[in-house]
């Protein structure tokens, strides 16, 4: 606890100098740019670098390869940027506000809520369009977050980390069982759910990017503004309150941001595991425990990890592609274990 206190106090000497952290962040941004270039140039269809460049600056609609870059890879990369940032940030927010190093959108009922609503939409409303799934998923994620936070807020102390974790687990279990009950009755719903539940950046085109952009933009700004509040909450509620932090209000804002970010990301791509869990830890390893920096790093590192996994998924198969959700699931676990072994995870 003393270490946190030292960092959170505004005038305390930082564990790492601001300059080192800024340099690190710049390097991370450079890595992000490089990743975007990879995402534009590598794919199941071999496209020469020159053609990629032409597609961006001097588009020739007659060229199939240029169309692939412009109509498929650019939206896909943009979606990767948005969703990666959203999941990285929401993971950081959740880990900070719940002080639980294993928190991610998956355990707060968000993925389960989105899935339940997608299935409900398919079965009861007959939804078939991806666009409809996005709204349904978003609604489900938002309602699940409100439910978790609302129930956890009952009682005198408000939404404490322990209550949040317990309610999150309970709501996840409840929603998952509803989803299972529906798909066991309705085979069509099961097929639709399976298609959505893999988690992928492929098969979503420009309209989806525009649909989630405003939500993720607003959510990201709100998230980045939460750094001080998270630093305060990391000290424990009493100290935070003594420092003048409005605990209840901060928590509400943070949860609202999480609902918007994770809800939009999950709705657009299906549940993507591991990212929201691992990115904050990677960020913390680089920049130390100050949440203002962790949020900045997560914003950049989330898309780096997601896009790298997506590019890998495009290349591993002889033809066709592997969904990014599968890549992250397969590569994520061992990588995460290696990280934990390499350096003890920060206790929150």
């Amino acid at each position: 606890m003393t270490a946190h206190a030292a960092v959170a106090a505004p005038s305390a000497p930082a564990a790492r100098s601001t300059r080192a952290r800024s340099t690190g962040l710049l390097l991370a941004v450079a890595a992000l740019v490089a990743t975007c270039v990879l995402s534009m140039t590598l794919g199941s269809r071999p496209v020469p670098l020159e053609t990629v460049w032409q597609a961006l600056v001097d588009f020739d609609p007659r060229s199939a390869s240029q169309e692939v870059v412009r109509e498929l890879r650019v939206p896909r990369t943009c979606l990767g940027l948005l969703v990666g940032a959203a999941l990285g940030l929401s993971g950081t927010l959740l880990q900070g506000v719940t002080r639980n190093p294993l928190a991610d959108p998956g355990i707060m009922g968000i993925s389960a809520g989105a899935a339940a609503f997608v299935v409900f939409g398919v079965m009861v409303l007959g939804a078939q369009e991806l666009v409809a799934y996005i709204w349904l998923g978003f609604l489900g994620a938002a309602l699940a977050t409100v439910l978790v936070y609302g129930v956890a807020s009952l009682g005198r102390e408000g939404a404490t980390p322990v209550k949040l974790a317990l309610v999150g687990a309970a709501v996840t279990a409840a929603l998952s069982s509803i989803t299972t009950a529906i798909v066991l009755i309705d085979v069509d719903a099961l097929d639709e759910l399976r298609a959505w539940q893999v988690g992928t950046l492929g098969g979503r085109f420009a309209p989806v990017v525009w649909q989630v952009l405003p939500f993720i933009a607003v959510g990201s700004v709100a998230a980045l503004a939460c750094g001080r509040a998270l630093n305060g909450l990391a000290l424990g509620e009493d100290v935070a309150r003594a420092l003048g932090l409005r605990v209840r209000l901060s928590r509400t804002v943070i949860f609202a941001s999480v609902a918007v970010l994770a809800g939009a990301a999950t709705a657009a791509c299906g549940p993507i595991a591991f990212l929201g869990l691992a990115v904050p830890h990677i960020a913390r390893m680089i920049c130390g425990p100050d949440y203002r920096w962790i949020l900045g790093y997560s914003l950049v590192l989330g898309p780096v990890v997601l896009l790298l996994a997506d590019v890998a998924g495009r290349l591993v198969l002889p033809s066709g592609e592997l969904q990014v959700g599968v890549v992250l699931g397969v590569l994520g676990a061992p990588t995460f274990i290696a990280l934990v072994r390499y350096r003890n995870l920060a206790e929150l």
């Binding site: 794919g43 109509e71 498929l72 085979v187 002889p318 599968v326």
Partner: protein, 333 residues
């Protein structure tokens, strides 16, 4: 069915697996059994073995497609199990299952207890030579469902390299079971349809076709070698394109991404009809879809994918395809 490239191929392929099983090349065994005299029943089944019974089986439980095939010849099973909801199945259009017990409408799940109450004396399903199993007993089917094989002996013609052979196999089985095959079911109608199909193809020299199934983020191209009806079409003169690199783990398809949709260009696209028009919508949304020349030209239709079991269905499909082919343009690709 659980071991094909997990989660990679998408449901389209899983569904195909469900319907197509994993049977492949070896041609159907000569199902030349006969109901010999003395009421003794015998039948040479798809697995090459001869099955006998003291008298002709009367209470049959069958896979839904097998049931539909037998019912063309007046053999009505007492119970059926299907791969999906019976009312939605493209291969069961117009089949009247009233009075027939439905024992399952999900692939791999058969209510064996209910089946036992029907006291069946024969179980009928396609023989998948690749999997060495009858429909309903393939790998991936729940163990408790496979107990269906304990109720009676299981027989059925083999899924070979021609859908016609499979249809004929059911005609033969129906004959041993006392069905009325004198009229040959809709055989005459079917043969006329084949002639019409052949004539239509002959009139369109150089016409090429490509069988596809777009799903999720994939654009899957069917490999004719593993699709009996596509092999038939080739035999009757239609140039169904053969993808060069079938997926290693599941050679029924070559899976392409939307970046690669222009890999094969044909004059006519054939959509998998089991999830049409859903798969059409998937392709429509892909920004690169118009790079498929036939799609851009609106030259597409459906093909009866892996489900043909009856002369009547085959005749309908061939007549429909003949009409499309007559109106097709061999200069699209």
């Amino acid at each position: 069915m659980s071991t094909f490239r997990p989660a990679v191929l998408g449901i389209a392929l899983l569904v195909c697996c469900v319907v197509a099983g994993c049977g492949s090349s070896s041609s159907s065994a000569p199902s030349s059994g006969a109901s010999a005299g003395d009421g003794q029943w015998s039948y040479v089944s798809g697995d090459g073995k001869t099955y006998t019974a003291p008298e002709t089986p009367k209470r049959i439980v069958a896979h839904a497609y097998a049931a539909a095939a037998l019912m063309e010849f007046g053999i009505k099973p007492v119970g059926v199990y299907a791969d999906g909801p019976v009312k939605d199945d493209v291969g069961l259009k117009g089949v009247d299952f009233s009075g027939v017990e439905i024992l399952g409408e999900t692939w791999g799940e058969i209510d064996v207890e209910q089946a036992a109450t029907l006291r069946p004396d024969l179980i009928v399903g396609d023989w998948w030579s690749g999997e060495k199993a009858y429909s309903g007993l393939e790998s991936g089917v729940k163990e408790r469902s496979k107990k269906i094989a304990d109720l009676a002996q299981v027989v059925g013609p083999s899924v070979g390299d021609s859908a016609v052979e499979l249809v004929e196999g059911y005609e033969e089985l129906a004959r041993t079971l006392g069905g009325d095959t004198s009229a040959g079911g809709s055989r005459a109608e079917f043969e006329r349809a084949v002639e019409r199909f052949e004539a239509a193809v002959a009139g369109q020299e150089g016409l090429t076709a490509l069988a596809i199934s777009p799903f999720g983020q994939d654009y899957a191209v069917a490999v004719p070698k593993h699709a009996p009806e596509l092999l038939d079409f080739q035999r009757w003169g239609l140039d169904v394109m053969v993808p060069r690199r079938p997926d290693p783990e599941f050679p029924y398809w070559q899976t392409l991404s939307f970046e690669q949709v222009d890999t094969y260009q044909a004059d006519l696209l054939l959509f998998d009809d089991r999830n049409y028009p859903g798969n059409l919508k998937v392709l429509e949304k892909a920004p690169t879809a118009d790079r498929i020349k036939a799609f851009a030209a609106g030259a597409y239709t459906t093909w009866p994918a892996y489900w043909l079991h009856r002369y009547s269905d085959y005749a309908d499909e061939l007549n429909r395809l003949a009409e499309v082919i007559e109106g097709a343009d061999p200069g699209v690709a």
